[in-house]
Amino acid sequence: MAAYANVHLALETMRVKTLLHAQIRASPETATPDDLKEDAENGPTDAPRVLILGPENSGKTTMAKTLINYATRSAQDWCPILVNVDPSEGGPMLPGTLSATPIPTPIQTSTPAHTLGSSATTAPTHMASNSLMPFGYWYGHAEIKRNPLLMDRLIRNLGVNIWDRWDVDMIGRSSGLIVDTPASFAANSGPNSDHRQSLIKACVDAFRINVILVVGHEKLNVEMQRTYGKQLTVLKIPKSGGVVELESLYRARVRKYQMHSYMYGERITPPPGMPPLSVTQTAVRYLIGGEQSADMTLAPSSSIVSFGEMNIWRIGEETMAPTSALPIGATRVVSEMQPLAVDPAQPGSGLYNAILAIVASPNPDEAERYDEEILDLNVLGFVVVTALDLPNKRMTILSPTQGSLSGTDSYCWFVRVAGTKVVRYTSPILIKSRDQHSTIAPVEC
């Protein structure tokens, strides 16, 4: 851990220097001569924007979390952004998303369901890491090779929004960001290495990365040194000794748990030897995972909507042959980025048991809309199709918030959903892998 701590101190040095520079620029009249002198001595400064690369089971996510937690624990108001571009992990969202989350306070680890913090709920929570404000886009697959073009676009969208946010947030800008990447970014052999390079490039460009940390992979380190060594710092970090090889089965189970806890929350069991919290309500209170109530159970709502009430889109074709497999000279009929409407009434739509993402409203101005706008809309939430009633053209969906899509009794839900769409994602966990994309939206209001 000495290496991690040293990295943290180095990043912290960058942060304090950048903040000094930013403060002087924001209000030159309040700067003291000492500050000015120090700033001049520092030379060009920049906040740490770190990209962590490494093979599977090398502790990338743990390292990202450790660095984030160190930064937030220093009581300097840092609010670094944790960027998750690994669609097989959800970050504070669900697997299948790419997200950016500002982390104001240290992330606690109390459950494998959200090791990177939990997004906000209406339940009273004491830990800020249990009520995070993630911002993300729906990618919809667990693997990057399914649609690298889409991934590239989403990464760049994420970067644009982060920089927009930083425009008004000096401390946040000085805090920098830390990007956690999928292991496939590091797999430097095999057929996928072309898009791998382009995705790393996308990350470096979008987030204006200035530090690349390569965890325990000498070959990748050399490659990164050669590619980016001139413009930014590439540093090899030894693999942590505590890394445990995780089975894919375990990862799948964690993903399933993540989805479950998105809807239902979780009940944290006290460690053995401690009495359950309900017993000790009045006498001795203790905290579990930083929370006073171990019962963070959430109540999703199940509702029946008719097919007409939603628009569902899929991005690209359901099964897409690689371009190389097409006949020579032929071009795709459906491009990888094209949203296709999905008709739930058609048999074989694959909606049953699928997770759909609700995305933000499209631009209210019709003239501003464009074909692929849905790709640039961020996620608001997720629903699961739990039943399809083809004869009656209805389906049952499980949504995180109470109230139904079509009902008027729940003002909040009704208003937010107005004009939103749902991109669908068939999770490889819930049913057998049939990854595809679709979108839903209510027809009116």
């Binding site: 220093s74 004491h126 109540a299």
Partner: protein, 634 residues
């Protein structure tokens, strides 16, 4: 029993339990806990021989450092003052008889009896104690020795009048034997000693003693920043002294330590172990340094707690030490720095006067104002002084000083969730907010939530972008969301209110005349302002000798003027508006009906703005919306 009002202080580590090295044959359990023999058991031994026999028997139980046994034996001694001589003889023979590893508890007993029942016993022990102590000291191992030294130090002020427990002569005799001749004048007169030879061992041992006191004080009050810092400094001092420093420095250190260590505990509350956590009030707060010039820029910040201020002065030294302490023999030159730091931190006063003197005068100078910027500056210096760069060699450096940055810089900790906050004023503010958040969440969790809780939807792009970390710090909650549009609307509303709050004093003689705004053609309403005792036109502004509605005027000028025109207005009309508009005409809307000092403030602020004549892009930060500014200057 009034002598033992606080007998629980025995639980303090004054009598450290057990011996580190020797395996102790576990005595029968009732030896450890003799509650079966009630303390109130009467001892009416008419016969001295019986008493002697009985006391010896009880003494024989004292094989380990057991608080109840010592306590019991002390009580018996107290109740049998007339047999003081017998008790003294018993204890002496016991100490001489038992094996070395059993001697320390008996000494603790001797210590306890002498201090608690000072009158006959100290006198009785005085002739014995020198020989007894020295003989024992030679026999025991190092760990016991240091404990005995510690005890010896408490004897310096052990008597009820804070003098030497067994008299100056005995005290000196023992100290001279143990630490050499350096302390010949030490116990009696603090002012004279120190210049002559002082042995390193003595200094170290006294350091240990003070350190022990401080650490105990810290244990009882873990959030005492001053003590924390003292402990850190003392640790450094100790390592330095061990590494070897010059004779005069040793003397100086010793002198300073003496002013600290044997300081009196309040006499009425005499407790058996004098080295128990001393009242924190005894430690003077650090003497304030002259404020750095940088502080002058933020005069309005409220006064600031002392310890955090004095810390930065120590930090660089500490950082240097930490980085250079790989080899045990630290070069000597650091000692003066360290000693200065010690002085500055208030552990040691610059001259050898008792630390209490002159303290009050210094306390009266207001503590220098601190600001988040200063806190940040200190942190920055500390971080930069760690000198770690992003390079392979730096990354692999062992023992990074990270603990200091994660814990020491943020000493105040939330007791509910363990999140730490810095000790600066802004950190305190944040901690308050944080505790408020806990309170709110607790209250929320006790209220029944009829339908259960659910996951919130994620935020929109606009919300996420404008959801600054600054206003949401510590809350991070959905209900804290600030919409950019809502903010803009609120700003506009405030600007409008500000405009409406402006007024023009009706010129004398014009009260009856009705004025109408040239823009909207509506008449201006005159009203009597109680505070200033004048008739005024509300929502009015004078422009080119005409009286406008302030809102109308602002609207009109906003619509007609481009940015350039606006800028021109700002520059050209400032002087005119100054001369025509009395200062008191500016009034904050929120205080419209309230006391009159507020308008003055607003006026001053504006004056400062006008005098400044420099328009930075940062004017927005003063909270004046652009609309108002335009109206003010137009």
């Amino acid at each position: 029993m009034a002598l033992y009002p606080q007998s629980q202080v025995y639980a303090q580590p004054q009598y450290p339990t057990g011996y580190p090295q020797q395996p102790i044959p576990p005595p029968a359990p009732n030896h450890f806990y003799p509650p079966t023999q009630p303390q109130s058991q009467p001892f009416f031994h008419v016969d001295p021989d019986t008493f002697r026999r009985d006391y010896m028997n009880r003494l024989a139980e004292l094989t380990v450092n057991s608080r109840p046994i010592i306590h019991n034996l002390s009580i018996i001694a107290q109740e049998s003052k007339r047999y003081a001589q017998i008790v003294a003889q018993c204890i002496e023979s016991h100490i001489r008889r038992v094996p070395n590893w059993m001697k320390l508890p008996a000494f603790y007993l001797l210590d306890s009896i002498s201090k608690n029942v000072f009158d006959p016993y100290a006198r009785q022990f005085t002739p014995l104690v020198v020989r007894l102590f020295l003989d024992t000291y030679e026999g025991v191992d190092q760990a016991t020795r240091s404990k005995m030294e510690e005890m010896l130090l408490t004897w310096r002020t052990g008597s009820p009048d804070n003098r030497e427990l067994f008299g100056v002569v005995s005290q000196l005799a023992i100290e001279r034997q143990i630490w050499g001749s350096g302390s010949q004048s030490g116990a009696s007169s603090l002012k004279q000693n120190g210049q002559s030879g002082v042995s390193q061992a003595q200094v170290v041992s006294e350091l240990d003693f003070v350190l022990g006191q401080k650490e105990r004080a810290l244990q009882s009050n873990p959030y005492d920043k001053v003590s924390q810092q003292h402990v850190a400094i003392l640790h450094q001092l100790r390592s330095l002294v061990q590494a070897g420093v010059s004779q005069s420095e040793l003397g100086a250190i010793l002198n300073q330590l003496r002013t600290l260590a044997p300081a009196p505990t309040p006499a009425p509350a005499r407790m058996p172990p004098p080295s128990v956590a001393l009242p924190p009030a005894r430690y003077p707060p650090p003497q304030h340094l002259p404020p750095p010039s940088a502080l002058a820029s933020t005069p309005s910040v409220p006064s600031y707690p002392v310890p955090a201020f004095s810390q930065p002065k120590v930090e660089p030294t500490a950082a240097n030490l930490a980085s250079s302490s790989s080899a045990p023999p630290v070069p000597v030159p650091n000692i003066s720095n360290l000693f200065n730091a010690l002085m500055k931190a208030g552990v040691v006063s610059a001259n050898a006067t008792p630390t209490g003197a002159g303290q009050t005068a210094k306390d009266q100078t207001p503590p220098p104002a601190d600001s988040p910027k200063d806190a940040l500056r200190e942190y920055r210096k500390a971080i930069v002084s760690a000198r770690i760069r992003l390079g392979s060699s730096d990354i692999m450096r062992q023992r990074p000083p990270i603990v200091r940055f994660l814990y020491d810089t943020a000493p105040s900790q939330c007791k509910q969730c363990g999140i730490r906050f810095s000790d600066s004023s802004s950190g305190k503010k944040r901690m308050e907010d944080h505790l408020d958040m806990h309170f709110r969440q607790n209250r929320k969790s006790t209220q029944s939530s009829g339908r259960g809780h659910c996951r919130s939807l994620f935020v929109n792009v606009e919300d996420w972008i404008s959801y600054g970390s600054s206003d949401a710090k510590g809350k991070g909650r959905a209900d804290g969301l600030v919409n950019a549009k809502a903010m803009a609307a609120a700003e506009a509303a405030k600007a409008d209110a500000d405009l409406r709050a402006m007024y023009v004093v009706v010129p004398p003689g014009d009260e009856a005349q009705s004025m109408s705004c040239p823009i909207c053609k509506e008449s201006l309403k005159a009203e009597f302002l109680e505070d200033d005792e004048e008739w005024v036109w509300r929502n009015a502004i004078i422009k080119d000798d005409k009286v406008f509605h302030a809102t109308c005027h602002a609207e009109a000028s906003a619509s007609k003027s481009s940015l350039a025109a606006r800028l021109r207005n700002e520059v050209s009309s400032r002087s005119r508006s100054r001369s025509q508009t009395p200062e008191a005409q500016m009034k904050d809307v929120s205080h419209r009906k309230s006391e009159s000092p507020t308008p003055k403030l607003a006026g001053n602020k504006r004056k400062a703005e006008d005098d400044g004549h420099i328009f930075h892009g940062t004017k927005q930060e003063e909270g004046t919306p652009p609309m108002k500014k335009l109206a003010l200057t137009a």
